[in-house]
Symmetry: C2
Subunit: 306 residues, 2 copies
């Protein structure tokens, strides 16, 4: 039985008769192939990745597993349509906190059409991409089974955060009081076990960075890093399984012997934000109230799985 | 007595009644203040740099020394005009080989005017900036006192090189046969002593990279890295004094707590090119003939200082 994925935080959703990804109960994720060349691009990328023996295992684990393409009933009622069959990244997770971050100050490849460049450049400037080298595109932070998730409601607000606001949300993401009132300072209670440590998110981002400093095969325009962990495991005395994944490859092009300096620059910027949270824990206690821009924007809660 | 600097490889030259930088015989370099806000921007940057105690000494050595501003007779005959007074970077060098590389895939700051962005974006796309994360803007390679310097004549050709052509020129830069026929393979004879080693150019670029991964004070749009060394010292059994310097700060803006991901990405790309020359020395012996694009473009020689 196919259903709307529980933990999708960005992109088009398969609700209200719209086209979007679906998931089954065996851990597979079905992403509709975009009808223009973006669909075939993404299939080509996954195929190339599967057959690329140069990617070391500690890097290939950052990509979702790929099981080919399949015709399935599309969520918009348009009948059987081709879908990418991928690993459902949150299949084995209970109430994961998830953040989707589109990496790169530029989301368009050099060979794109004038019209496409104009459209993307406008967004990159309006949103935080140009300023920060990345932009948040969606997130959910698990509070508790009673409180459910904290999710920003306004998509374009999330994408156009200032540097200080991004820092705040990255702190909130690893805080125990994320579901509290908006003007409460994030306590960063889980920063060291989610971001820090030898298997934490920072460590994984640094592995990815080392690969991007060297690999000249792919340039990832408009791709995202997904960061995930499970707060509930902490209460059970276990590690929160922090993990990153790379997703969204409709605009991957050949590197032609040059590193992906656009993705790498943005990745280094994200790394700096997260490093600062770890190196200045005192900031979590001394932060002031959230500013008006944050307070004006509504959030909603939805119950977590029980 | 002021004169046109000998080893200027890029930018406007003070010849033929045009406005350009001048040098004296005591090691000072006089750069005319651009009349619009770029001039005042560059003065502000140098002043800020001088008073910034956060910049470690191993990084501040990469910037030219700044001695304030001074009214001097401009080279275009327009009378006494304000000039930045800087260290003449090649004052103590004899026949230096010099390469000027504009770093960053984007040469315009986010706050620039629409008109300026349009103009820069067009250049960034036509030249190699967008593809490589940097572009060569000028170079001279010393051959011998008889042969003089190898200098590409065509400025826009140098700026629009492909990835393979840039790799070739970076090899030619450290080759003993750089003044030979254009279809001769570069021998990379000096690669290990100019690019390699603990005081070589790669090592300096890596120090700069580490600083750019951390510093959030300045964003350097349209700034250049100058790479220099002296081939003649090698024949005299000495080290070639390889050095890098950062120059051109008319478009430096405040970092506002974010790293300069645009400069850093381009710098990492340049580092990758130079690393590859060091790690694959066999490519210097096995390269084929230079391609048509290189051969079609004229070069000229001028005699070196004796």
């Amino acid at each position: 039985m196919l259903k709307v994925p529980d933990d999708q935080v960005a992109g088009h959703k398969a609700i209200g008769g719209k086209l979007g990804p679906l998931a089954d109960d065996s851990g597979q994720f079905y992403k509709p192939l975009q009808s223009d060349e973006r669909g075939s691009h993404e299939v080509s990328f996954y195929s190339s990745l599967s057959s690329n023996s140069k990617i070391p295992e500690h890097i290939s684990r950052f990509f979702p597993k790929f099981y080919g393409t399949q015709l399935i009933e599309a969520s918009d009622g348009s009948g059987r349509q081709p879908h990418l069959v991928l690993q459902d990244l949150n299949f084995c997770r209970v109430n994961p906190s998830v953040m989707d971050i589109k990496i790169g100050s530029r989301t368009w490849p050099p060979e794109a059409s004038e019209e496409y460049i104009k459209k993307c450049l406008k967004k990159d400037r309006e949103y935080s991409s140009l300023a920060l080298g990345f932009r948040l595109t969606g997130l959910q932070i698990f509070g508790s089974r009673d409180l459910g998730f904290w999710k920003p409601e306004n998509k374009s607000w999330v994408q156009s955060l200032s540097s200080d606001e991004v820092k705040l949300l990255l702190k909130k993401f690893v805080s125990n009081n994320a579901s509290g009132p908006l003007d409460q300072k994030p306590d960063c209670a889980f920063a060291s076990i989610v971001y820090g440590g030898s298997t934490g998110i920072l460590s994984q981002l640094l592995e990815l960075k080392a690969w991007f400093e060297d690999q000249t095969t792919y340039h990832f325009y408009s791709g995202s890093i997904l960061m995930m962990f499970e707060k509930e495991l902490i209460s059970n005395g276990k590690g929160p399984r922090p993990e990153i994944r790379l997703i969204d490859f409709a605009h991957v092009i050949e590197g032609k012997g040059v590193i992906d300096h656009n993705f790498l620059g943005g990745l280094c910027s994200l790394i700096k934000f997260i490093s600062e949270i770890l190196t200045t824990p005192e900031d979590c206690a001394t932060d002031g109230l959230l500013d008006d821009h944050v307070q004006r924007n509504h959030i909603y809660y939805e119950n977590g799985s029980t």
